[in-house]
Amino acid sequence: MVVSFVVLSLALITVSFRESDSGPVHGIQDAGAAALRPFEVVTERVARPFRDAYNWFDGLVDARSENERLRKENAQLRQQYVAARSAVDDVAVLTSLLEYEHGPDFPKDFDAVNADVLTTSSQFKQQITIAAGSKHGVRKDDPVVTAAGLVGKVTRVTPTVSQVTLLSDPTSAVAAEDLTSGASGIIRHGAGGGPALFLDRVTKNEVVLVNDVIVTAGTQQGALPDVYPAGILIGRVTSSGQSDTLPFKTVQVEPFADLTSLDAVAVLVPDGRPR
């Protein structure tokens, strides 16, 4: 019996890895994910006040090692965390997404599909699943944002659930630029853990200063536009330097969106896409 479980696991890995997203095993998995969705939603909602309380205390501990400016920011965040411990927070999160959708920063020619986060990322995969899928107009490679900034992009879609690969995943790469100086590069995740990002491929003659804001570049090469619209906030530069041995600058970026604690996100879908 044990051997059969092992063999079955190996067979599932092989088939799941080799077949396309439209294959039968993926179809069964999609149906399973859809069936599990209500349980995940209930669990997430029941535990949200506890998780928010934990985040509040976690922020309190972190604040001791922050400088004065960050302490002020943390104070604001703590207030938000405290406010987030009730169902009112649901409204706040969705309201912020709504305000973002109707605000000047929202990309033109796009609509927002707002969705709850169902499963969180792990230490092995910086991917989450959200409660929106192809039935809601979501397609593979659609960008995903919060009111704070860019989160990642959709990498797999089922009718009711989608998988989002976060910016903190090693496979993510986003063309980005410094909003102040216009210096361009590629946002990637560093080799280690943690949420810090790096603006890679910035040549040494370009200027990038601490506290500069980094946004998506929305570059267009030939007939293939970037999947990310231009001007979406990504993060703030926390350090910038260069050495004689490296061909590019070393620019570290702290993402605006808290990639480790996402409750709801918005998927950007082009105007006019059927839903």
């Binding site: 044990v2 599932l12 890895f17 998995q29 994910a33 969180t120 092995f124 089922t158 090693p170 480790t260």
Partner: protein, 175 residues
């Protein structure tokens, strides 16, 4: 072991797997990640033996892979082997030893980290071995050890330990 035992174990692992993927996977304390599913599986395997452990590991892993839309079978494979091994340990040398859950959880946490990293590498996923095996492994072990006592106690309440003489029939000691 009765069908009721199987149902209770299934329900327990189902709930724990949902909690794991919905809440705990991204919860990091001092770099460690609580693995409630792994700890619960160890408790089930120690209390009910290798077959229960393997079946529970396969089921729990399948739920995790399905809910997170990851490669099917990956977590199942690791948890099946882990559940079986801990079950055998419980049936033999670990029987009635108070330290057995702690030893099992510590060892399985290490094996899970190495096994998952290896499988992800084999599938071409970009996993930071430094992050998983150096930075987060020790705090994860400590975190899981903290969970062990309450989880083992609660699981023991749900799945009452099998009588010693019943379990002794499962293994024959020669010599």
């Amino acid at each position: 072991m009765t069908p009721a035992d199987g149902l209770k174990a299934f329900a327990l692992l189902f709930v724990v797997a949902i909690v794991q993927v919905s809440l705990l996977s991204s919860l990091s304390v001092a770099g460690g990640y609580p693995q409630l599913l792994l700890v619960t599986l160890v408790a089930v395997a120690l209390l009910r033996g290798s077959v229960f452990g393997a079946a529970g590991g396969f089921l729990g892993g399948l739920l995790v892979d399905t809910a997170t839309l990851q490669t099917l079978g990956l977590t199942s494979l690791i948890l099946t082997v882990g559940g079986y091994w801990i079950g055998r340990y419980g049936e033999t040398t670990g029987r009635d030893r108070t330290h057995a859950p702690y030893v099992s959880v510590a060892v399985v946490t290490v094996l899970y980290a190495f096994g998952a990293t290896l499988l992800h590498f084999m599938l071409g996923d970009a996993v930071s071995a430094r992050s998983v095996l150096l930075e987060s492994l020790l705090p994860t072990i400590l975190f899981n050890l903290v969970l062990t006592a309450p989880v083992y106690w609660l699981t023991g309440k749900l799945l009452r330990p099998v009588e010693w003489r019943d379990r002794a029939q499962e293994v024959r000691l020669l010599g």
